[in-house]
């Protein structure tokens, strides 16, 4: 982990500015699915067949071996959101669907960002930004630096904007994973 700090650099956005505030109608849905072949296909086919425009989807295992959790984010009006939740619930392999209240939810995304960093000043600047954003430097080569950043989507956006002028050569984002805060299930 790089720990240098320079006072003149911009600071990371405060966690209170969520994307939901910037773009009206950003939503997170959390669904529990049967963990078996063909389920993912059924869900994604539903999105296509009913013309739902999804921003990101993540799927992975849960505390229960026979269930996977899918987190979906989308920008939409309430009616589309309501339909999406209902249509998902209708799928037999979908065990539960919740529309999460973004204020009462912890949600994170991971991004891997590879940038041009041929000269020492650039490297310095990037490592600096990385440290402010609590990002990890995963790889430094002669020409590039690869950074791993975890945060809300808007934090990742902010970092991207900051380093854009160095030239981002490759970028991979995982999409959002989310859980409700506290004891809520």
């Amino acid at each position: 982990m790089v720990t240098t700090t320079l006072p003149s650099t911009p600071t990371a956005p405060t966690p209170t500015t969520t994307l939901a505030e910037k773009i009206g109608g950003w939503h997170i849905l959390s669904a529990l699915l049967e963990n078996k072949p063909g389920v993912l296909f059924r869900v994604t086919n539903l999105f296509r067949a009913r013309n739902f425009n999804i921003e990101s989807i993540t799927v992975g295992s849960t505390e229960q071996p026979d269930l996977s959790r899918m987190t979906i984010t989308l920008n939409s009006d309430e009616r589309t959101l309501d339909q999406l939740a209902k249509q998902l619930r209708k799928l037999i392999d979908v065990v539960e669907v919740k529309v999460l209240d973004t204020d009462k939810t912890v949600y994170r995304e991971l991004a891997l960002i590879k940038m041009n960093a041929g000269d020492p000043t650039t490297r310095m600047e990037i490592t600096n930004f990385a440290s402010i954003f609590r990002a990890n430097i995963l790889d430094i080569g002669k020409e590039t630096i690869t950074v791993e950043l975890t945060g809300t989507p808007d934090k990742i956006e902010a970092f991207k904007n900051l380093v854009d002028h160095f030239g981002i050569t490759q970028l991979a984002r995982t999409g959002v994973s989310a859980l409700p805060r506290g004891a809520e299930l």
């Binding site: 049967e34 059924r42 086919n45 067949a49 619930r89 037999i92």
Partner: protein, 561 residues
Amino acid sequence: MVEMIGAKALIHALEKEGVDIVFGLPGGANLPIYDALVDANFRHILVRHEQSASHMADGYARIKRKAGVCFATSGPGATNLITGIATAHADSSPMIAVTGQVPLAMIGKDAFQETDIIGVANPCTKYAFQPRSAHEIPETVKKAFYIAESGRPGPVLIDIPKDVQQSSADMNFPELIKVRGYSPVVDADLSQLGKSVEILLNAERPIIMGGGGVILSGAFSELQAVAEILMAPVVTTFKGKGSFPENHPLAMGPIGMHGHAEANKMILEADCILAVGARFSDRSVGRYDEFGRGMSIIHMDVDPAEIGKNKSVDVAVIGDVKSSLRTLVKMLSKVIVKKDQDNPWVRRRKELIDHYAETLKDYPRDLTARKALKKLREILPANSIATTEVGQCQMWASLHFDVISPGTFFSSTGLGTMGFGFPASIGAKAARPVVPVVDIAGDGSFNMTENSLAVSVLDNLPVIVFLMNNYMLGMVAQWQRTFYNRRYSGVHQRNCPDYVKIAQAYGAQGIKAQSLSELEKAIRSALKMEVATVIDIIIDPEEDVYPFVIPGTGLKDMVTG
């Protein structure tokens, strides 16, 4: 636990579900199933094309109100079923389609007659199973029936690899199963019903819109009770045609693109709509944005996803519509006995009916579709079953053939599948052999599945094909007349084939009817016959269907001729 092979377990599981008939056609990938079928205690009907097997299963289901079953082999056999599966899906009809599949080890290798039928069927089934070992079969069948028949019904596919059919396992036939993630039965929310009562009683001009859900749940007497308490005129969707007796003093018939003029007019004048088991389809309501403006809408449906899908509503009552209506009747009866029978709103119904009876003129010929269908209704016993093909014939049936006994009419309304009616009528006959069954057909549609005459004759399932023959793909021709300045393109069937000879070639009766009196004789003869009868009714190719709500316009823009 009993040891047996997968194919035997399938047949046994079907027997346990009370299956009495299966429609299908064998091939390489379902040979083990066909071998086990020899010892089955139910009937197998050999079709001449798998599409007809799925339509027959559908027609059977719509009358029995339980899942119809069809079999096909892998690849082309399975894809041939798809039109019928999609038709059933669009109309929420319960069906179990069992397809053979290439052996497990061959899946994904583009083997001979391999089709990813699970992938193909996904968008048009309620669920699709592919058991991967023989012991899964009994539970799969149980789940398939449960899913197909409960909640909003629909088709379920079971795709069984050949080696799974052939291999032996200890079988356990469960009596009860649970499907996590599927809970179809919801009791109607009493507070929502309370709100509905309030709105309905305060409405001055309430109207009821009966949809297909009424027929699926058999809520005929409940619907009638609500209508009679409220003295509310009843329109239906086309799918809901026959959810309410069409000779009832409150009945107004179907609304929609080719709905009854008085029904289309009346619904726009209402201040409150009680929509029961209907989905506000474009064909029924014209424009979503225009329809129901300024009215209170109460929507009852078993499928929560239908609420707000096409139309925002004021009150949503989610649950089986039969139980929702039953509770509504109880709640209403506590407050009133019956609304005034002679009120201006009820008089308006009569006024509109009389007005349009006067204005909507029949086509100027001796034998028209309208006259033919009125004659058919006059002669057919009230408990007869009628289905239709697709096109003008279907819309004329909607307009001019009144359903008297609720639940005795059905049609491919959602998908509009030409070729559906004839095999479906055979399925309906199998479900209720004691009543006459009629397919109100157009020549183009009948061509698509006419080889089912073999089934009708050989398997002793006689039906009447009421073929309104204009030697045209009539509905398309009407659109070309209306929207393309009479530039006909691909609509002439050109006097081919000879339907009387076609019928005779299969051992059925064929009668040509060129006048109303010939038609009357033909219908009477068909009713007496013990084999299928095709009545070839020659009508004018220029006869249009009116009223017509042009797509993209609202019910208020209805054209009456």
